[in-house]
């Protein structure tokens, strides 16, 4: 105790300075914080959504829908390829997540398999692990095509990454400040938007797939056939949202898709004054749109958004410039939102909201107030009690405790760990456990002194013997904090992180800081007896 090692003193001084410097920004009003010199840290505590208000959304990428879509695309590809090769076929359908087709002339089956292998199954090659599509002949002219699980998983993984990218673009366009968009687990995405953003609008923008296609209306189908469900293969009934018709029969093949858009803007129609979305195609899209419109003059095409027809105009003239506009039953805001969605691109698969939580900023402020009051009362109660109980040594503990709080808050500000409302309760209990370390040491010192040791020897033994218990106890606390961190979500993680930082700083402050303080005091006063004995 007397020969305090120099590094301990340095560590204590450094820790105290560190705690003050990194906690300080939290105490200052924003304008003072901004005018601090550049070398001073400016980061404040990263408050959880429960403390600052905001929205939290847990989204799941609908991988089943993704698979269905991939399979139906595959089915259409098979149809196109077999027709192109002039191979007559029948019974093209989806059976148990496989595409099944019957070649009319079994003698042509081999040609068909080779054709499909070289086209359909090779189409997505270049993806890791090949295309993942296997083409198998089953005799009798039956051919089955299936997707491997690995390919599906890889596809789902890509879909999640892509979705995150697209969500980020969409949310940025809404002007939400500092949104967090991260992947969770295999197929989930967490979106957190702090502050008073409109959760409903946020969800509208997130929840739409925004898959835009331009498809021809199949005008060979009479309304009666449509009502009876008699629709030729290659066409399909689509529900409509254009205010004219309940539904349309459209050719399944898309003329142009939303991926070929380069820009979309909300505007007002020059004639009607209605809000519309104007768009521009890229080169490929413009060419295809020009071809399609010049070949189909006088016919109708449909603009389909997420499987719903939003507009079905008649082609008056060939549209060759690559520009167009979508009119429908829009309000300026819904037209603007659609433009945002089209600019950001379509999600590769629908997203389902699994969990939503929105906390008003006012409630968050209430929580902060309740947290500060609880912490202050708890802290003052501990300090008063420990000083009453241990006198001067209690003062040393109180100093260590204050440095401990500063260190925890400083580390949390520095690492930008999230402080949640339950985290404040964790912080309070951490302080109590930190004091326990001091109690263990002081009680040990008393025992050793009562057993007849000199003050200096009692101090030495007290510290070294209590340290074993302190380490054991804190390691078990750290285990429970780590488990919480591993298994918990959101607020629990914040709680666990607070506990974990607290365990580490507590051992340091309760053991090292008090040791240095007692050592300095001992050196200065050379007491004959200890004040706690």
């Amino acid at each position: 105790m007397i020969n305090l090692s120099r590094w301990k003193v340095i560590a204590v001084v450094f820790a105290a300075i560190f705690g003050v410097v990194f906690t300080l920004p939290n105490m200052l009003p924003a304008n003072v914080r901004d005018s601090l010199p550049g070398f001073m840290p400016k980061q404040t505590l990263n408050l959880g959504l429960d403390l600052q208000g905001g929205s939290h959304l847990l989204l799941e990428v609908d991988t089943a829908a993704l698979k269905q879509e991939k399979l139906s695309n595959l089915l259409e590809d098979v149809r196109t390829q077999l027709r192109e090769a002039n191979i007559p076929f029948a019974e093209l359908r989806l059976v148990n997540d496989q595409v099944s087709v019957l070649i009319n002339d079994p003698a042509q089956a081999n040609t068909a398999v080779n054709k499909l292998r070289s086209t359909v199954a090779a189409a997505t090659a270049g993806a890791p692990g090949g295309s993942g599509i296997t083409v198998a002949a089953e005799g009798g002219g039956r051919i089955r095509l299936s997707l491997s699980q690995d390919a599906m998983n890889a596809e789902a993984g890509r879909a999640v990454d892509q979705s995150i990218e697209i969500l980020r673009r969409r949310i940025d366009e809404l002007g939400t400040k500092e949104p967090t968009i991260v992947r969770q687990g295999v197929n989930r995405i967490v979106v957190q938007a702090p502050g008073e953003s409109d959760p409903q609008r946020l969800r509208d923008v997130i929840g739409q797939t925004a898959k835009l296609t331009f498809q021809m209306v199949d005008e060979t189908v009479t309304p009666e056939d449509m009502a009876a469900g008699r629709v030729p293969p290659g066409s399909q009934v689509y529900p409509a949202d254009d205010g004219f018709s309940q539904s349309y029969v459209l050719k399944k093949r898309a003329l142009v898709t939303g991926e070929m858009l380069t820009d979309a803007q909300q505007q007002f129609d020059q004639q009607s004054g209605q809000p519309v979305v104007s768009f521009r195609f890229n080169g490929q899209g413009a060419r295809r749109f020009a071809d399609a419109t010049s070949q189909n003059l006088g016919k109708r095409f449909a603009i389909v958004l997420d499987g719903k027809v939003i507009s079905a105009p008649v082609i008056q003239s060939a549209i060759t410039g690559g520009n167009g506009q979508i009119s429908g039953s829009f309000t300026p805001q819904s037209a603007n939102d659609l433009a945002i969605l089209l600019r950001a691109g379509a999600l590769p698969a629908p997203l389902k909201v699994e969990q939503q939580s929105t906390v008003g900023a006012e409630l968050g402020a209430d929580a902060v107030r309740a947290g500060i009051i609880s912490l202050a009362i708890g802290g003052v109660a501990i300090i008063v009690f420990i000083i009453l109980a241990y006198g001067l040594f209690g003062v040393f503990s109180a100093i260590a405790l204050i440095v401990n709080v500063l260190l925890i808050l400083g580390i949390m500000s520095l690492t930008q760990a999230t402080l949640t409302f339950p985290g404040i309760a964790g912080l309070i209990l951490t302080l109590a456990v930190a004091v326990d370390a001091n109690v263990l040491i002081y009680e040990r010192i008393r025992d050793e002194a009562h057993a007849g040791r000199s003050p200096i020897s009692a101090l030495e033994h007290g510290y070294s013997l209590a340290l074993v218990s302190i380490m054991d106890a804190n390691i078990t606390s750290a285990i429970s904090a780590l488990i919480m961190f591993q298994f918990g979500s959101g607020p629990i993680r914040g709680f666990a992180w607070t506990l974990l930082i607290g365990v580490i700083t507590s051992v340091f402050t309760a053991v090292v800081i008090t040791q240095v303080l007692i050592g300095l005091w001992f050196r200065a006063t050379r007491p004959k007896a200890l004040p706690i004995v």
Partner: protein, 312 residues
Amino acid sequence: MWPLIRLLPREFHFNFVRLAPYAAIFSAILIALSGVSFFTKGLNLGIDFIGGSMIEVQTPGPVDIGALRQTMMRVGGEDAQVQQLGAPNGAMLRFRTAEGVDPVEGAQRIKNELSKTFPGITFKKVEVVGPKVSGELMTSGFLALGVAVFLMLLYIWFRFQLQFGLGAVVGVFHDVLLTLGMLSLTHLEFSVTSIAALLTVIGYSMNEKVITFDRLRENLRKYKTAPLADIINKSENERLSRTLITGTTAILALSGAVFFGGPVLFPLVITMVFGVVVGTYSSIYVALPIILLWGVKRGDEPAEPLKPMAAR
């Protein structure tokens, strides 16, 4: 007479072991009561575990619970609960949307309906948990409790003898059962946060047991021939002042949050306070008696791991 620690006698001579049989009966009764409450009343599971929606509202004037309830019944929130919360103009609505309806959409519809019926109503908090996520939260929550207890058992086994580890684990189970019983009896909401509180209780309780065992192990080495019961009594008496001071500190520290933490922190903090009390109790009257009944290896103590860390 300051510091107050001087008021405590230097040595306590309390016969802890003599009371152990009565404590065992007491614990058994409490556990039975907890079990009865747990199985008859059950836990008041929060929406994060059973799925559903929760909306906290604030109305311009005092809240009309009856009208709110009627609206909720009309707009189809299934088995909706309406209760007053905090200030006289605040209320909490809990409901589940019908099968097949997207819960997020359902909650939005109810919000719209409430805005129409109660002009000026504000939504302070909206939470919707889908059935899939709630199931997972439940599983992962209880898994976390299990894994935590198991890892601590391993740690104590590694640091002490196996019977110490088992004594500690039985003690922790005792604490968890009583805490669950308390939560069920008081009908406090059991949410994901409660799992965190339980884990903290486990951590604190383990902490107590480790410190209890440390002193016991030390005295076992010091007094190789004394009867185990005497050593347990001696260790506990030596430790008593620390137990009292630390327990008081923990409860004092949490007291601010009990009274001023508001409805969110209250269940969490009251669970912790309860945990501090039962954790301290079970260290003395569950963990130690198990060791006493089972016995420990004595003598040259081959089963003991070395006394590390302190040796310097």
